[in-house]
């Protein structure tokens, strides 16, 4: 029986020791559900907000936009919602779960064409990037594989799909295109040199791929990439929600977003 005593006491003791440090506060704070890609700028904006305002009971919930949307649909107590693409906000609005949408997006993003062909071959590619159109780069014979997000499920892939369609290259490039299951995987393929070219967000390039050469995709080839923001039906009457919401859309926070590579959401 010594074993049982040891096992049960250790099992009961461990959580009790940790309990006090985990115990949660009674006040219900303002909860901001935001796309995980917005984490760093939002945390920085929150630091700035704390210095300027007395309101300190703000919490963030970071995940993929789809998961965040589902949480709100199932009654999750969220006050402000900032997904990575307008479709998520619109779907919730149709269900009457959004009280107010921001007059302008929280942030915007751009699409970049990235090449992993650096080093020996890179010199050729760098010169290839220079003075040549996106079309010519994509059709270059040295390019064997191009990674884009799966257009059926991944927003960054949907924008890439638009670009290829407007350039009328989609059928020609089919054999070279590799689909990734999310935006991170696109980045990962490029980071690991598994592919020659890829289409990624400017923010991802700045955070994770800044060692690689890029070419900006002309903005008229895809619909604007915008991160919308809204107050949920629950956040409607709650004190402090509007104040933080307005702060998120203020020039001060826009400056922080710009520093992380997000374009002006105007």
């Amino acid at each position: 029986m010594r074993f049982w005593r040891l096992l049960t006491t250790s099992l009961f003791l461990l959580p009790l020791l940790l309990m006090q440090s985990v115990g949660h506060s009674r006040q219900s704070p303002i909860l901001v559900s935001a796309a995980i890609s917005l984490r760093r700028p939002l945390m920085e904006i929150y630091q700035l907000y704390k210095q300027q305002s007395k309101e300190r009971h703000i919490q963030f919930n970071f995940a993929s936009s789809g998961a965040l949307k589902m949480q709100i649909e199932h009654g999750g107590a969220v006050d402000i919602f900032a997904p990575a693409s307008p479709q998520y906000l619109d779907l919730l609005e149709k269900k009457g779960l959004i009280h107010l949408k921001g007059k302008r997006p929280l942030a915007a993003n751009r699409l970049l064409l990235i090449s992993t062909l650096v080093g020996d071959r890179g010199k050729k590619i760098a010169s290839m990037f220079k003075g040549r159109s996106v079309q010519e780069i994509l059709l270059d014979k040295r390019v064997k594989r191009i990674v884009v997000g799966d257009p059926r499920t991944v927003p960054v892939g949907q924008y890439a799909h638009q670009v290829f369609k407007r350039l009328k290259l989609w059928p020609q490039l089919q054999d070279k295109i590799v689909f990734a299951n999310n935006a991170r995987q696109v980045v990962e393929y490029l980071r690991r040199n598994e592919v020659d070219l890829g289409l990624v967000y400017a923010t991802d390039w700045q955070r994770l791929l800044s060692h690689l050469p890029y070419r900006e995709i002309s903005a008229d080839l895809y619909t604007p990439i915008e991160y919308p923001i809204g107050v949920t039906a629950r956040g409607k009457r709650r004190g402090g929600v509007d104040h933080f919401f307005n702060f998120l859309l203020s020039p001060a926070s826009r400056q922080i977003f710009n520093r992380y590579g997000f374009a002006d959401g105007v």
Binding site: P15, V22, H74
Partner: protein
């Protein structure tokens, strides 16, 4: 400032610990029910208890959010009783860890109950011990190694739980971000060095727990073999 990793480690151990206690109590009970009582529909119960093992985490997350959400059966009950929603709390993380690790406990308890010689139990009954006394003095001690294995596996599974936790408990820094969620955030925001550090420490902690339980288990097994002689 951005990440309170010490908190994440504490939270992970807390969640896995509580979940394992619950799994130990209910898992042994359920396995006993399935092996000895065999109520009507025990096959269905068995399947339902095994499903979390084979379903992808996103589907488990979806089921959990449907049950625990404000409109869900359990969620509504908790809301009525406590006035607080279960979602976005460490308690929800415990629920997620519990659901994914319970099958491991039930499976390993079941197989160790099944391997007990029924004659021993019959002898106990014939010597005047009732069901509870037989369970406590014969079945449970004989099933010890299997139960211990179940506890280890459940605890390890609970420590690594990610998908369903993200769904029901959210990824709220300083409140519900367990170590797997913190790693997810670190990787997503490109902080690979920090992520790697956390991954290494977490692997080490998990390995230490497994080592402790292996030592305990070995000692236990030797003691058990000694008793047999």
């Amino acid at each position: 400032m951005e990440y309170n990793l010490l908190f994440s480690f504490k939270l992970s151990l807390f969640v896995a610990g509580i979940s394992t206690i619950l799994v130990l109590i209910t898992g042994v009970g359920l396995a006993y029910l399935l092996v000895y009582q065999r109520p009507r529909g025990h096959q269905l119960l068995d399947i339902a208890l095994t499903l979390p093992l084979v379903l992808p985490p996103t589907i488990i997350g979806y089921y959990l959010i449907t049950l625990l959400g404000r409109n869900g059966v359990i969620g509504q009950l908790v809301l009525d009783l406590t006035g607080d929603s279960l979602m976005f709390t460490p308690q929800a993380a415990i629920c997620a860890a519990y659901v994914v690790s319970l099958p491991l406990m039930v499976k390993s308890c079941k197989s160790s109950f099944e391997s007990i010689d029924p004659h021993l139990l019959a002898a106990s009954y014939s010597l005047g011990h009732n069901r509870f006394s037989t369970f406590w003095r014969i079945t449970l001690p004989l099933a010890r190694p299997g139960i211990l294995a179940g506890v280890i596996l459940s605890f390890a599974r609970a420590l690594g739980e990610f998908g369903a936790t993200l769904m029901v408990a959210g990824n709220i820094p300083g409140k519900t971000d367990t170590v797997p969620l913190a790693i997810y955030s670190l990787v997503e925001s490109g902080q690979f060095v920090r992520a790697n550090q956390v991954v290494l420490i977490y692997t080490l902690i998990a390995a230490i727990f497994l080592l402790i339980s292996n030592i305990l288990g070995g000692r236990n097994l030797r003691a058990w073999k000694g008793e047999q002689r």
